[in-house]
Amino acid sequence: MKNVPTNWGVVVLGACLLVYPMIFSGAFYLDIGVTFLLAAISASAWNIVGGYAGQVSVGHSIFYGFGAYCPLLFYQLFGWPPMAGIPIGIALSIAVAILIGLPTFRLSGHYFSMATIAVAELIRIFTGTWDLVGAAIGLQGPAVARGWWDLTFRGELPYYYIFLVVLALLLFITWLMEQRRFGYYLRAIKTNERAARSLGVPVLQTKIKALALSAVFTSIAGSLYSIKTGFIDPESGFGILVSVQMVIIAALGGAGTLFGPVVGALILIPLQTATNTWFGGGGSGLTFILYGGIIVLIARFEPGGLFDLWDRIAPKRWRRGHAA
């Protein structure tokens, strides 16, 4: 049935993710696992507006950065547990999402892309000059946990399972969204905005809702990152790589599909770890070149991502059912 996307695949994937830390318990492998989950969360969040609604944001680091900064900022200012900053980051992200969406969603899709990249750059430069938020140096979280509520753990294992729960929750919400009227609205807008509007779809409202929902989870992803790392600076919060990674992971797996971003992250994160290991310190520049190359190739040859490719070449009984 199309309603339950490849039952067995999901069960196997879930089981693998649950037992992964028990099999690969070394710090190196655990770190890859945590990085993978975080990448999958942020790319799935991007997917809601970039994939399902077809509004391509290339500045999602705006929301990620808000989410990442708030927990550490309020810890430094008032000594609040980092967790308390998460809702503030979410609120800020929703506000900025509406501010960006309201003017640009009335215009053609390019405007939205441009606005996201301009706002992201604006905030990145601004954060780098503002002393209250640590300027170019950044902010630090609690070094030693004062209690469990600081979410500061020595090992990465607790983070792994927290992230896994968040990812599962996000995928469940996305799946619900697919089934509801909202999901149909999004697909209608993506396919033909004018036709959707003439059929009575509230286009602007739906797009803004999608952006806000996407912003909420991107912000949570940012918060998880900064709480786990205990550190944030303008580049790792609002930097262009942050946005690029979400786009490339979602597009690689298949933008607008439920598990596309997860598959994209499964491929890209190990690949990224490998290039960084092989090329050592000079790896980051090569990572960007590689990313650029992959993005161009996807856009040119497989804009539907790997899921689309799979549907064309796989034996019939293994293909996905087509979502409406």
């Binding site: 391509v56 003017p103 441009m114 604006l122 430069i125 597009a251 090569l286 650029g292 856009a299 804009p303």
Partner: protein
Amino acid sequence: MLLLQVVVGGLLLGAIYALFSSGLTLIWGMMNVINFAHGEFVMLGMYVALLVVVWLGGGPAAFGTAAAIALFVLGVVVYAGLIRHVMRGPMLAQILSTFGLALLLRYTAFWIFSANFVSLPETSLSGTINLGGILLPVAQLVAGVVAIAFTIALHLLLTRTNIGSRLLAVSEDRSAAMLMGIRPDRMQALAWGLAGCAAGIAGALMATAYPWSPSVGETFGLIAFVVVAFGGFGSVPGALYAGLIIGLIQAVSAFWFGPIYKDIIVYSLFVALLWLRPQGLMGKA
């Protein structure tokens, strides 16, 4: 007097902004495609100029021509190899294609040329000139004036020549143009070539007067968006006015608030503009 010097310097820089932005606006207006790699084209123009000077010892005319030709070719190649295939596809593919290209070009440049700032060695344009009390580097003056000349030339090419009419015909109605015996594919390739050419010349001019690193492409790309958004889409005269205004605003705000704020102010203006007048200052609704 100092302020006047800042104003003139800003206008001269703005003229170069106008030149490369007119390339972006040409493509945007003609086929509704945004080249996210346009700033990187300018950056490549700068390195082409550097290589011609360092390896071949060429003068301004030589490296300007070399940059123009190299970027014209790149523009045509990018159109034929990439844009032609994605421009009627989904929005995602359109935006990702040039966005990925931007990353590819920018970080390949980082890899080859390193992140250090470079500038052209002494050329015949080095030195300063005193214009009634305003001290200006000769290179800046020449670059600004030549940039205005090329922007106007591009405008004349688009409005007064046979080629220009064909380009316009394709942008207005592709199928009608085909019925008139115009090949849209060739015209669009030409438009990409011209856009690359404008970026290349602007890069070469910029290189004579300012130091740079591979990361300038990102800034120039955003500035080109801002200029096009101000000037209205597809309008070369709009890009000229808007380029001059942005150059002026940048120079004056750097002078008053400090150099860190010049980009912040330009991007803030852009966001404000999206809110208040998204069709551009001179564009029609």
